[in-house]
């Protein structure tokens, strides 16, 4: 079997296996898998509205995935995407609420504020790693909690004791009449274009620039990078700052697109953590992240339809979704199996 055929076959088989095991889970729990999967399908592709909402859901996943993947490529594990996303969300919403400006200034300003806030949240662990060799995993986890509770407190201050801000001025909104008309008035917004542009940006940085060359070199072997005259500390900080900026942008998608406000949260959004899985599914490449985010976003959004349309409890739905993702992630096992089968054939 050629390598290309294997590459194509592996994801297909993974998804089928995931669906099969998911079906068994539903059967065992006494629900009809066909009804369940029909509901899932309709929840993703049912009509123009759901398609629009699915893409909207994919948008922040792309950016969160890019954030994690970018850090990974530089040899860093950024678990703090969640926190960077939360501060980005707040910063964008705050700029959107606090001033009213012409759209051409207001919207970019709000987006930049989100990126800057995320970048700052990434800078701290980057600096601590570079200067004092504190492991970024520990710092970023702690930064997540700081982000969550600080933004909650700030929201209270900004909204005079309330637990959400006003809605942002329209001049800062990513709302798209064009997309709305196209998708039967879903909340699909211009953010998807920003997310796709960032995919190109990440690709460009990694594959075309001297910065990308250095980041990858440092990620693989910091001793050789230092020997070659690269500034390892600078690169570590920069990698975390860029990663954090991507995460901040993911937050701005929620602030300026989906919700158009920020409310205080009882817990994490989960998007940042799912970004880790998105990045790994996409093998830390920019294009792969689109694939991972699409899988994650559509399953997550489509699953919402299963309790309503098929009467399957949310808990079972989450197990089914987790099983499907699990099988996609374990494509490696399937690859191995295919290789063995091919070898046996050859031996005969």
């Amino acid at each position: 079997m050629s390598i290309r055929a294997t590459n194509l076959l592996v994801p297909v088989i993974s998804v089928i296996l995931g669906l099969l095991v998911g079906a068994i889970v539903m059967l065992v729990s006494g629900y009809d898998p066909i009804v369940g999967y029909t509901a899932l399908w309709n929840g993703i592709f049912g009509d123009l509205y759901t398609i629009g909402e699915t893409i909207r859901q994919i948008t922040p996943y792309i950016l969160a995935g890019l954030a994690v993947a970018f850090a990974f490529r530089s040899g860093l594990f950024n678990i703090g995407v969640e926190g960077q996303l939360i501060v980005g969300w707040f910063a964008a919403a705050y700029v959107g609420v606090a001033v009213e400006l012409p759209k051409i200034i207001h919207l970019p300003l709000a987006i930049l504020a989100a990126a800057a806030a995320g970048a700052l949240w990434g800078f701290v662990p980057g600096l601590l790693k570079a200067k004092f060799h504190v492991h970024e995993v520990i710092v970023t986890i702690m930064m997540n909690y700081i982000a969550l509770h600080t933004t909650n407190a700030l929201i209270k201050t900004v909204s005079d004791g309330g637990d959400r801000t006003e809605s942002i001025f329209l001049s800062a909104s990513l709302r798209s009449e064009f997309f709305q008309n196209l998708t039967d008035f879903s909340r699909l917004h211009y953010g998807i274009l920003i997310a796709l542009a960032m995919v190109a940006v990440m690709w460009f940085i990694l594959e075309k620039t001297t910065l990308g060359f250095e980041l990858k070199a440092v990620g693989f072997n910091h001793n050789a990078s230092e020997y070659a005259g690269m500034n390892v500390n600078k690169n570590v900080i920069l990698a975390m700052v860029i990663s954090g900026a991507f995460a901040g942008l993911a937050g701005s998608m929620e602030a300026l697109g989906t919700f158009e406000y920020v409310s205080s949260k009882g817990g994490f959004t989960g998007i940042g953590f799912d970004g880790i899985a998105v990045a790994l599914l996409g093998m830390n490449t920019p294009l792969g992240v689109i694939f991972g985010a699409t899988l994650f976003g559509s399953l997550k959004y489509g699953a919402l339809n299963m309790p309503n349309a098929a009467g399957i409890p949310l808990e079972i739905v989450e197990i089914v979704i987790a099983v499907i993702i699990f099988f996609v992630a374990s494509g490696y096992i399937i690859r191995l199996f295919l290789l063995r089968a091919a070898k046996k054939k050859e031996a005969k």
């Binding site: 001297t210 070199a217 693989f220 050789a224 020997y227």
Partner: protein
């Protein structure tokens, strides 16, 4: 005559690349059979075929006369074939016994039975005179001892045929002597050995017969007693090899590198270089001879900006380069072939082409305005690959996939191509075969002849004696003497390296430092 192993007309392909082409190797019972070939000639591939890691495309393997199909290492184990790997496969924080039983733990009532295992390890160790403590932690024992653990592991599992893959690469001279004794003892106990190596001296010392392969092809098998190192070398590389490096008279001119009162500390704050003075002139090769750990690494790292200088000055052509960052040092005109090519020399997961531009990627013509032109990187890579005979499928092959010799050639190509005023070569031929060593030495001499300064650091006295124009002996962080190779002997250097003073032999360059220690006579 009975053969325990016969590999007949073995062929192994990787894609379009033929790694082994019609190689035959027959191992007699009770012999030490050397497998000789250059780096990348296909020795390891052949042994991996025997060990079941690769499946051959052609040929057959017979063990004790019976045709076998070794499709995985477990089958090789069952057939009594054991491999002592070049890079040890040991768990550092496990004991010797734990490592030996790993993967095959004996149990008593469902609990690992280490006590009986340790006793058994002790027995086997004594039987073959290995002298290994079954309870020692791997991280606490020397490299030579770790290798014995690897040997013990194969014996414990009942190996009758042992494959040694480059066993002396990381051993000290004393450990090599001991290893050779162990190998002879193994033969006396009825084992058979295949010894993979490219060191001719070892082959002459221990082997009974030698099978030579060159560029993946079997050249033939000769009886050791009926051959000599020169013949073996030419069989291996396919041409006459000069053992004594040919070079003309040096024509040194003004000082290139001058180091004054240099003090460098290691990471614990212990002084490793102590008020060291050294000059290297344009047009000469200065060799630093010394035993590992006498401050050589710290000295190089200080010159190249990888380590802080505590006091003293380093200058290149009267320009003070003390404490400059590595990039500035590189730009000032210093090239550096690092001691550890995997740690410092290469980003192994990068393509070899990227590695060749590892210090120049940010400059014109490769980069403009922060954007890299990868075509230029490939062009440079192709040029180096051609000029320095780096054997690789192309610039996009990961550096990891190249053999050690070819990795080293790529590094040397990269450093020499930048045409540095001073080239620092640290253990440039470590682990390489005679052909590659000859090539590298001639490149160093070529640099010298072009009026450049070369600083060579080596633990091998042969190398220092052959290549250098002057030899600075380092001991305990100081240059204890500077001698001329023609006017000294290895014995004298050995004494100096060990810290004993020897009366300098009428040469103007001698350093005034003399230590008033007793002279040992061996």
């Amino acid at each position: 005559m009975e053969y325990v192993i016969e590999m007949l007309n073995i062929r192994k392909e990787f894609g379009t690349f033929v790694a082994n082409d019609d190689i035959t190797l027959q191992l007699k019972k009770g012999e030490i059979h050397a497998l000789l070939g250059e780096n990348g000639a296909g020795k390891s591939t052949l042994m991996n075929v025997l060990f079941g890691l690769y499946q051959p495309e052609g040929g057959e393997i017979r063990v004790r006369g019976k045709k076998v199909d070794i499709s995985n290492p477990n089958i090789a184990n069952d057939l009594g074939i054991g491999m002592v790997h070049q890079h040890f496969m040991l768990v550092e924080n496990f004991t010797v016994t734990e490592n030996i039983i790993l993967g095959n733990e004996p149990t008593k009532f469902g609990v690992t039975n280490k006590k009986d295992a340790a006793k058994r390890v002790q027995e086997v160790s004594e039987q073959y005179g290995l002298n290994v403590d079954p309870h020692a932690l791997i991280e606490d024992i020397s490299v030579g001892m770790q290798q014995r653990v690897e040997i013990l592991k194969t014996l414990y599992r009942g190996a009758e045929i042992l494959i040694f893959d480059e066993p002396t690469a990381s051993l000290t001279p004393q450990e090599i002597v001991e290893l050779i004794q162990i190998m002879k003892r193994l033969i006396a106990e009825g084992k058979s050995i295949i010894l993979i190596t490219h060191k001719l001296k070892e082959i002459m010392d221990v082997s009974d017969r030698v099978t030579v392969i060159r560029k993946g092809q079997g050249i033939g098998t000769v009886i050791t007693a009926e051959t000599n190192p020169a013949d073996l070398a030419s069989l291996m590389v396919g041409r006459q090899v000069e053992f004594k490096t040919v070079k003309g008279q040096a024509n040194p001119t003004e000082d290139a590198l001058s180091i004054k009162d240099l003090v460098v500390e290691d990471y614990r704050g212990v002084e490793k270089v102590k008020r060291l003075n050294l000059t290297v002139r344009k047009g000469e090769i200065v060799g630093i001879a010394g035993i590992d750990g006498n401050g050589q690494s710290e000295l190089i790292e200080a010159i190249t900006g990888l380590r802080k200088v505590k006091s003293g000055t380093i200058s290149l052509h009267d320009k003070d380069i003390t404490g400059l960052k590595p990039r500035k040092v590189t730009e000032a005109g210093i090239g550096h072939i690092p001691q550890d090519r995997h740690k410092h020399g290469l980003v192994l997961d990068f393509p070899i082409g990227h590695n060749i531009s590892l210090q120049t990627y940010y400059k014109s013509p490769i980069s403009k305005g922060g954007i890299i032109d990868y075509k230029k990187i490939d062009e440079k890579a192709l040029q180096i690959i051609k000029d320095f005979d780096v054997r690789t499928q192309g610039p996009h092959t990961p550096a990891r996939a190249l053999s050690g010799g070819n990795q080293q050639k790529a590094i040397i190509g990269r450093e020499v191509d930048r045409d540095p005023d001073l080239l620092i070569a640290a253990l440039p031929t470590r682990g390489l075969d005679v052909g590659a060593i000859e090539f590298i030495h001639s490149r160093l001499i070529e640099q010298r002849d072009n009026g450049k300064a070369v600083l060579l650091i080596s633990f091998e006295l042969d190398e220092v004696m052959n290549v250098s124009d002057r030899i600075a002996v380092i001991h305990d962080g100081e240059i204890v003497d500077v001698v001329v190779p023609e006017e000294t002997t290895e014995q004298e250097l050995g004494l100096l390296m060990a810290g004993h003073s020897v009366k300098a032999q009428g040469n103007g360059n001698n350093d005034s430092k003399k230590e008033g220690e007793d002279q040992h006579v061996n």
